[in-house]
Symmetry: D2
Amino acid sequence: MGQYVGQNQVNTGNQKFKIRNENFANRVRESFDRQGFMDFLGASLVEILPGRVEIQVPYRKELSQQHGYFHGGLIGTLADNAGGYSAFTLMEATDSVLTIEYKLNIMAPALGQMLIARSRVLRPGRRVTVCQSDIFTRQDGAEKLCATMLGTFMTLADTADAPA
Amino acid sequence: MGQYVGQNQVNTGNQKFKIRNENFANRVRESFDRQGFMDFLGASLVEILPGRVEIQVPYRKELSQQHGYFHGGLIGTLADNAGGYSAFTLMEATDSVLTIEYKLNIMAPALGQMLIARSRVLRPGRRVTVCQSDIFTRQDGAEKLCATMLGTFMTLADTADAPA
Amino acid sequence: MGQYVGQNQVNTGNQKFKIRNENFANRVRESFDRQGFMDFLGASLVEILPGRVEIQVPYRKELSQQHGYFHGGLIGTLADNAGGYSAFTLMEATDSVLTIEYKLNIMAPALGQMLIARSRVLRPGRRVTVCQSDIFTRQDGAEKLCATMLGTFMTLADTADAPA
Amino acid sequence: MGQYVGQNQVNTGNQKFKIRNENFANRVRESFDRQGFMDFLGASLVEILPGRVEIQVPYRKELSQQHGYFHGGLIGTLADNAGGYSAFTLMEATDSVLTIEYKLNIMAPALGQMLIARSRVLRPGRRVTVCQSDIFTRQDGAEKLCATMLGTFMTLADTADAPA
């Protein structure tokens, strides 16, 4: 798990992000735990930093497409979710997040023991946040880029991140 | 299940498609059945016509996001898969299909008893096929559009649609 | 030019849209006329209906790519602009519109005497509106679909649609 | 203008690309010069490296949208063109390139004296190449990221890059 060291201006790559809620990592974890689908897939949160989130899921046959690789729908699922949560790290404690849209390019077969989605915020905004996710497979210790996502996420102010 | 009546030129909406393999519906069903992920999700093929495919999955808690709706990753999964198989209906018996990319706009919360993806080919091609999927929720008999996908799929000639 | 008949609920295709500003067609025209780029390209507004806009530009060599067809950048320009203005027709008199993102699939060479972009709102929203544009070429009276766009547009409340 | 030093394996960022045509920079320049639209816009090629291309256009009022900024259609035009030409640098001498699709996120108003599109190949392929373009404005010497594009380009083997 990544360590968040508490300052209000954090340089992630070449960008500084304003932190609006010091408790952002817990909010991401609690939201993730409310998603029945993540548990069902066997996915876990591996890193939560301001504007950055990593999600992993180990391979099993239930997650495969017709050639036995990780299913493309799973690639999209992790890409979208990592994107949404990287946006969520920069929101207020009273905000909720939703996916407006995303675009995914699959660039290589998703063959490996682990599927890894790493997302980062490209453009944080009060209402709209743009994120990029890179999705890798890990096989015998070596990582390979298999897909890239460019997505747009919306801030819902004063909205609970849980069922009403 | 939709009935395909066997002619070589079929008008689906305002487009006629050339059928390259009379056995296309069986090929789609066999490929779908090889996808462990579809069985795992509880998804089923509901219609297979030339250039058109419908996939459905009933709601259960394991498929939910944090508010209890169908997870966005599931919406993308069905949209992508319906798109790929609608492209696959127009391919040769010796072709395989892969997703190059897709873009998904989520337009309403996916709340309902059933999630339904209906895809149609917009532009069939020997190498590249463009498809659009509309994703609906059905609740108490009423359908509502919740997302739209625009995607690009590739024909892999002389490639088995199964593990080597 | 399309005729708008003044009622507040309009069925465009299978959707009814709420009109927030009866003067929407004039607002679109005035905004279009402020875009130096439209005049430079020789583009004109051909239809303005609630949730629907059509833009056309006649061919000339200055608009070509390397094979002599309409340049892809022009296709994207009209698709984006028709999308933004179809969203704008449903906004308040004090709103401005901006493009969040769009995705364009080019499906055939853009060969013809006229390039035509027709956009319609798929999902109107107070903050975010989703639109689809179809782009056609017209040659010797026959139209051909050459591209499709799926895009997302944002409402900026209380923002002038002109330089400050 | 960037200098290409002639080796067959080039590390651009963290990727090595195979060069299939030593004369790639001239092919890009000649194709660019055949595009009437680039000349009309006042655009120029600033860098041509294997898998990387930069295009710039200086501001003038004819390129503006309604607030006086660079028009979004121009942003898309440069993003698409830089993407296509970065893919083209890695193709055979007898190949032509076409845009399958692209997705553009506009992240800030395009305000400045110069608009700059820098594209790089993410995934080169014999048939399909994926590219990313970042679009910047330069104002008083300072650059600002205003948009990002993720696009897919196709190789047309044995096809002239000029009118038949």
